[in-house]
């Protein structure tokens, strides 16, 4: 998830966990990246909405496509806007763990439910 920040840095000069993060060149680059992601998000939103008007044979297909687009958008927000990419591996570990637990909550709850009743209705 991140490049290790093994390069030692002077305590007084840096504001967050990246050695070069503060030099103006790097920050301008970051701004450019933010703008690109903004574009991606807008396109993603338009895509999501247009999916509503596309007919899929099965509901699960619609759901998958919608969630896929949302996940890609979400990843861009997390990685670039929230600059996880530049952050320390520790954060990545904690978040990955959180993700696993959240997926566990979701999958096991839904799994035990489906194991008894089965989906009755999955058409919109």
């Amino acid at each position: 998830m991140s490049e290790a920040t093994s390069t030692p840095t002077l305590p007084a000069t840096h504001g967050h966990g990246h050695g070069h993060a503060d030099d103006p060149e790097h920050i301008r680059q970051m701004q450019k990246r933010f703008l690109i992601v903004y574009g991606v998000l807008i396109v993603g939103t338009i895509l999501t909405v247009s999916m509503y008007y596309v007919y899929f044979e099965e509901m699960w297909q619609t759901v998958s496509v919608a969630m896929l687009i949302a996940s890609v958008k979400g990843l861009f927000v997390a990685i670039v806007f929230m600059h996880l990419w530049h952050d320390h591996r520790n954060l990545g570990t904690i978040l990955l763990y959180t993700g696993v637990v959240a997926v566990g909550l979701f999958a096991l709850t839904i799994g035990s439910f489906l194991s008894v009743v089965g989906p009755q209705y999955l058409v919109r």
């Binding site: 637990v101 096991l108 035990s112 439910f113 008894v116």
Partner: protein, 615 residues
């Protein structure tokens, strides 16, 4: 002895303090008070069970005055019994034990043990305490709500909770949301503190085990409480806005279909959200006590804890596994065999790391020169008591056997063995152990012995019979203590499985043991307050001769904790250096090591003489 640099007013110093030690003590006193409230509720319930249908002696009139109709004629009606049962569980778990082991011990000790000046976010810390206090007060206020407090158990299962017309349940939800928020802020604080504020040299491998347990506890709270919070929000919307998150279609209550309810919800959804917290919560109740016991052990056996890495690995495993076992509380609701198998497997697997921790502690005793101080008595008792509690959990881990045991007194026995002579004993031990650091005075040993032996006997007289009653088929949550299903009820004559008079008689034994248990808490309460003012003064800052950093501070530790910056040079439990050195010698010769110290604190540089000894 305090070296406060500037004088703060009373409010800033004791009520809105930012000092983690004061906040820890605030947590401690508040949560012990809640434990006391829970204890009183329990005594009333046990009295009622032993004497169904009779007015409560002495306090009956008071009860009726406060609670009104449900306590008519000074009797505990079934409704009132339900209220007391729900509030006993809620208060003990969420307002008593968790804030005690996490808020009080965690706050007081974690920064000290890692060599930090305070928690990472002192203001947040103060805020979490006040949220907890106010959440608790809302919970207490619900006793005065018209119709009384919540009455659907500490688990608050809908649709029962939704259709109860009185407001108590709404108070419960609001109080829970406040308390959960407080715990979340607290856990953020603890995790950040442990990750960021460890003193130089305090590597992960050198952390005292107690810090590890608090760290894992904090993660449990951080990740498992929010789903319950979401459940509480949904239940709130159900109750206040008439939604149907947990209300199934076509629900009929007392013969009348529910009006103006959309239905379409699921009571099982609540159970999932609740137990997703509920199970990790039981480890919240027990991990930090394991840490306390470990600290007391190391200090009183005068040798390093055996298997520290295995213990740390075990609690990390527990931390993860406890997130994926929750549906073992729901076997009776029915689930597919694959999912059920998954939960049965994880539940059985999770007992392994607990056993590893217990085994390491047990093996640590080997070859130690045990000092049977009062804290050590409590700590060493933790092992067999926790053992009974843990082992009685195994039969319930299997769907088929749990079908019989579920909702019986057996499970009450199971978890009370874990929380009462388990967690509470560890907490008592912890109080006796750290009291000299916090106050500069010792607690009385004689009174401590009275407290210990009395409590030990009574606790077992209370909880062991419950296991027996459960196996005989007695169900939990019955206000008459099972009388209706006993042979005393003429209509049960000749019914196979009706509760015998012996089993029913245990109710009386339990009730009297409860009274005795309460009496044996008096020496503790007296000891606690008396020793603050008149206990024997400590001879130095480290009266127990302990290695961990909290003992290397002035007594009591001042604001900012350490007199000078701390650097850590060694692992947490460097006891019996002479033996260590002796073992390292090829031809062991006592004379050459006898002068080496019994222990060396973590912040003492490793000397040339001891450096050769294996860590």
């Amino acid at each position: 002895m305090s070296s406060e640099t500037h004088e703060l007013g009373f409010l800033r110093k004791y009520v809105f303090s930012l000092d983690h030690k004061v906040i820890g003590i605030q947590y401690g006193i508040t949560s012990l008070s809640f434990v006391f409230v829970g204890l009183v509720l329990m005594m009333l319930m046990r009295w009622q069970i032993a004497n169904p249908g009779e007015a409560v002696p002495i306090v009956g009139g008071l009860l009726e005055g406060v609670m009104g109709v449900p306590a008519a004629e000074g009797k505990i009606s079934p409704d009132l019994y339900n209220m007391f049962g729900a509030m006993h569980g809620t208060i003990m778990i969420f307002l008593g034990i968790v804030p005690l082991v996490f808020g009080a011990f965690g706050n007081y000790l974690v920064p000290l043990q890692i060599g930090a000046p305070d928690m990472a976010f002192p203001k947040l810390n103060m805020f979490s305490y006040h949220l907890y206090l106010w959440g608790g007060l809302v919970m207490l206020a619900s006793f005065l709500a018209p119709g009384g407090p919540a009455q659907a158990g500490w688990t608050s299962y809908p649709p029962l909770t939704t259709i109860i017309p009185t407001d108590g349940q709404t108070y419960w939800i609001i109080a829970m949301v406040i308390i959960i928020t407080s715990s979340l802020l607290g856990s953020i604080n603890v995790i950040t503190t442990v990750i960021q504020l460890r003193a130089p040299g305090m590597t992960w491998g050198r952390l005292p085990f107690f810090v590890w347990t608090e760290f894992v506890t904090a993660f449990l709270l951080l990740l498992s409480f929010p789903p319950l919070e979401s459940g509480a929000i949904l239940q709130f919307v159900d109750r206040i806005f008439g939604a149907s998150f947990f209300m199934p279609h076509d629900l009929i209550v007392s013969g009348t279909p529910m009006a103006d309810v959309s239905g379409g919800g699921s009571p099982l959804l609540w159970q999932h959200l609740f137990w997703f917290l509920g199970h990790p919560e039981v480890y919240v109740l027990v991990l930090a006590p394991m840490g306390i016991v470990t600290e007391i052990f190391a200090n009183n056996i005068r040798k390093p804890i055996w298997g520290y890495p295995a213990m740390v690995g075990s609690i990390l495993t527990i931390g993860f596994l406890s997130m994926v076992v929750w549906a073992h509380h729901m076997f009776m609701t029915g689930m597919g065999s694959n999912i059920s198998m998954f939960f049965q497997t994880t539940t059985t697997v999770i007992s392994i790391p607990s056993v590893i921790v217990m085994t390491c502690l047990l093996l640590s005793l080997w070859g130690g020169s045990i000092r049977f101080t009062v804290p050590m008595l409590f700590a060493i008792t933790f092992l067999p008591m926790f053992g009974i509690g843990g082992l009685t959990g195994i039969p319930m881990a299997f769907n088929s056997t749990d079908t019989v045991l579920h909702d019986s007194y057996y499970i009450i026995g199971h978890f009370h063995y874990l929380v009462a002579p388990g967690t509470l004993f560890a907490v008592f031990g912890g109080i006796y152990y750290w009291f000299p650091k916090a106050t500069g005075r010792h607690m009385s040993v004689k009174l401590g012995h009275a407290h210990f032996w009395g409590s030990l006997v009574c606790m077992n007289l209370i909880f062991f019979p419950m296991l027996v009653q459960g196996l005989a088929g007695m169900g939990r949550r019955m206000s008459d203590g099972g009388a209706n299903y006993s042979l005393a009820n003429p209509s049960n004559e000749g019914v196979v499985g009706a509760l015998s008079s012996t089993i029913m008689g245990l109710n009386v034994l339990i009730a009297w043991s409860v009274v005795a248990l309460a009496l044996f808490q008096l020496p503790f309460i007296f000891n606690f307050f008396y020793s603050i003012v008149a206990g024997e003064k400590v001879e130095n800052d480290n009266p127990w001769g302990a290695t961990t950093l909290e003992w290397q501070t002035p007594t009591p530790p001042p604001h900012g904790n350490f007199a000078e910056p701390v650097v850590v040079y060694r692992k947490a439990y460097d006891y019996s250096l002479h033996f260590k050195a002796l073992h390292a010698q090829e031809a062991p010769e006592w004379g050459s090591v006898a002068h080496l110290p019994d222990f060396e604190p973590q912040n003492l540089p490793v000397s040339a003489e001891t450096v050769g000894a294996p860590e």
